[in-house]
């Protein structure tokens, strides 16, 4: 069974064709700013991008009619109460077209995928969108009724890696408790309880360890003092939290390799900051272990920083392996994660979910 995967970014579209779980062809289709300039709204780009994707299929020697499914990256929909694979439906397209939850390149995923349903009658899906919200009620408390903790995390890679880890443990994802740590530009630490992410730090701008470019949780009253100090505008403050915080703020780089190099050269400051990032990340694993009452089958490290077998991985492992064995799945192949979501449905292992039944209004 052939599956086309569409993963749109702001200046490129990553596409791939899988034959079952084997990659047949993949490409990053880049879009110059001149090409994108004529489109007023992001969603206006979908016909343009669709055409380029059709050309890619032709080049790869895969006629659209041979496809069994098309899977797009899920966009900014209303929060949905369960992860997994969703059928692309009219109400979903409507929400993405309207941009009611924000405009993001990933909104194009379902729109483009549906073109193949419209033209060729091929079923289209999205998988584990960023809006997946499976938090348990206790996880929603912040500490003040003014704010609620929200579920914003790397759902696609967290879920795909959790499934792969469960498989390695010889169990179904729905039968294990895992703590999954995605370590990229943001770091999300999720408590996966029998297939549901019941708690996870809001890696975007909420809480958690500091990351290569985000601040994570900050000391509350000190943060308030800083906001009122007159030293930073709102925009500058927001950047301290996301984009210019964490490693960037301390060391001037968001590149783990660069920091490793500095540590090799004896840079004590770099060593301290890098260690602190591992320390905070490990502590968040401890928090999620308490969420799971200590009943944890595995701790799973993924994302780019999980490639660092010299420092980051052993540092974290040393601190948390008393909780559960640590499994390492470096990187994070989004295209494969999307394809596997489609494949599970095609194989009848999973029933596709319907947006209108799962959305949390």
């Amino acid at each position: 069974m052939k599956i086309l995967v569409i993963n749109p970014g702001s200046t490129s579209t990553k596409v791939a064709v899988f034959e079952d779980d084997e990659l047949l062809a993949s490409k990053t289709l880049r879009h110059s700013s001149e090409e994108l300039a004529p489109f007023k709204r992001l969603t206006d780009q979908f016909a343009f991008r669709t055409k380029i994707i059709e050309a890619f299929l032709q080049e790869a020697g895969v006629p659209p009619e041979e496809l069994s499914a098309v899977v797009g990256r899920g966009g900014l929909l209303d929060p949905i109460s369960s992860g997994g694979t969703y059928k692309v439906t009219d109400d979903m397209l409507e929400d993405l077209m309207s941009g009611k939850n924000g405009e993001h390149a990933s909104n194009l995923g379902a729109l483009i995928a549906y073109q193949f349903t419209r033209e060729f009658g091929i079923p289209s899906f999205i998988v584990d969108s960023v809006v997946v919200d499976e938090l348990e009620p206790l996880a929603r408390y912040s500490g003040h009724p003014m704010f609620k903790r929200r579920s914003i995390f790397h759902a696609l890679n967290q879920k795909a890696t959790a499934r792969a880890a469960a498989k390695e443990l010889g169990k179904a994802y729905e039968d294990v408790n895992l703590i999954v740590v995605h370590m990229g530009g943001g770091i999300s630490v999720g408590a996966h309880k029998r297939g549901r992410v019941v708690n996870v730090n809001n890696a975007l701008d909420g809480d958690g360890p500091f990351t290569p470019e985000r601040s994570g949780t900050l000391p509350l009253t000190q943060l308030i003092d800083l906001c009122y100090s007159g030293r930073y505008t709102l925009d500058q403050m927001k950047k301290k939290i996301k984009g210019q915080g964490g490693m960037v703020d301390y060391l001037g780089t968001n590149d783990g390799m660069e920091v490793s190099k500095r540590i090799d050269q004896g840079d004590q400051e770099a060593l301290l900051v890098y260690r602190a990032m591992a320390y905070q990340t490990a502590k968040w694993i401890g928090k999620m272990a308490a969420v799971l009452s200590g009943e944890v089958d595995g701790i799973v490290l993924t994302g780019g920083l999980a490639y660092d077998e010299d420092r980051m991985v052993p540092w974290i492992r040393e601190m948390v392996e008393f909780i559960a064995p640590v499994l390492v799945f470096p990187g994070g192949d989004e295209e494969r994660a999307l394809a596997m979501g489609g494949l599970r449905v095609l194989r009848g292992e999973e029933t596709p979910k319907i947006y209108s039944e799962m959305r949390i209004s």
């Binding site: 009620p137 003040h144 994570g216 900050l218 009253t221 301390y250 401890g286």
Partner: protein, 362 residues
């Protein structure tokens, strides 16, 4: 051995007499606002408070010369190691002339030394585990942006005395040969890992960690920044909203856990709020178990909320797999000071020397 304990608060002075480990007498000497208002500075109150303490001794038929030591609460001293300090000229000098924060506790050692000077024999004045104890690891000081450093402020005094008690009574080992996670559940909540007696990390209860009966604990940073720049609150309003009017009192309108449990009999939402507080406390304990790499001899739950078996059970069900859990309900604030002095007097510990060089400050 007779020990007088002095623990001044803003409007009262708590005093106690110990005969070795036994408390013979304790009283809360209150000072009416009209009386305190007559004094311009905090330090000017020392004679008034000293007279009240002398009256307390007289009532108990104990003369100054019968005292073997005075145990004073530590003031806002510079960052120092945990342990018991002999109050000396340097400490008095610091409290009188260099204290950065005016706090009633600064009076304790000063009054103690004044009294000791009036005795006809030398009476040592000891200070144990002042709030400024700071043994935090450098790696734990990093917040997430350069502008902010995680601060070491905690309920160190109660946490250490409780840790020492559990080590001796339950683990049958000296405290500094054990690893523990201790959670102090009071108006604010401190959770700290102790590695061989050293507290190398702790959530600052105003800034981080679980919400408590009246503090919000850590909050989503993006949301906090938005509110701070919204123009709807002054800085002080916002801080008071989160520290003092946050947590349980914000969700349920009471800062009393017993009251909240009463509400929970009829209102499932109230029960959920209590559970959420226990959940966040358990999370912080989990984090600190990781800080100790899982080598945890026991978890100790202390402070006022530890009186509630039901609440402790909610926490224990989540952290019981990490280590044994012991509870020491309430706060041993007077014992902490008396026992600290006693450890030095019986030769179990050596008193530490307080030093301060004014050159370091402005």
């Amino acid at each position: 051995m007779k020990i007088l304990v002095i623990n001044p608060g803003s409007s009262s002075t708590k005093v106690a007499l110990f005969e070795d480990r036994d408390r013979i007498s304790q009283e809360n000497l209150s000072h009416p606002a009209e009386e305190l208002d007559r004094y311009e500075t905090l330090m000017d109150q020392r004679e008034l408070r000293e007279r009240a303490i002398m009256d307390f001794l007289a009532t108990n038929r104990v003369s100054l010369d019968q005292l073997d030591a005075i145990a004073a609460r530590g003031g806002i001293l510079p960052p120092l190691e945990s342990g018991t300090y002999l109050a000396n000229q340097a400490m008095e000098d610091f409290l009188l002339h260099h204290a950065r924060v005016q706090h009633a506790s600064n009076l304790a050692a000063v009054i103690g030394l004044d009294m000791a000077r009036k005795a006809s024999k030398p009476i040592p004045v000891y200070v144990t585990d002042p709030v400024s104890v700071d043994e935090m690891d450098p790696v734990a000081r990093i917040s997430g942006i350069k502008d902010l450093e995680r601060k070491c402020l905690s309920h160190i005094s109660n946490m250490r005395v409780v840790g020492i008690k559990v080590a001796e009574e339950e683990l049958k080992r000296p405290f500094n040969e054990t690893n523990m996670v201790i959670a102090h559940l009071g108006g604010g909540i401190s959770v700290a890992p102790f590695e061989r007696g050293r507290m190398f990390d702790v959530n600052n209860a105003n800034d981080e960690g679980p919400f408590s009966v009246e503090r919000s604990g850590e909050l989503p940073v993006g949301d906090v920044v938005k509110v701070a720049y919204s123009g709807q609150y002054t800085k002080d309003q916002l801080k008071k909203t989160f520290v003092g009017k946050g947590g349980l009192v914000a969700y349920l309108g009471t800062n009393d856990l017993r009251e909240a449990f009463k509400m929970a009999q009829e209102d499932p939402k109230a029960l959920e709020v209590i559970e959420a507080m226990a959940y966040q406390i358990a999370q912080e304990i989990g984090a600190m178990c990781v800080a100790l790499k899982g080598r945890v001899d026991c978890i100790v739950i202390t402070g006022g909320m530890a009186h509630s078996d039901r609440f402790v059970q909610m926490i224990q069900s989540r952290v019981g797999r990490f280590a044994r859990v012991f509870t020491v309900p309430g706060e041993m604030e007077m014992e902490a000071l008396a026992y600290g002095a006693l450890r030095v007097m019986t030769g179990q510990e050596a008193a530490k020397e307080f030093t301060f060089s004014a050159g370091g400050s402005n």
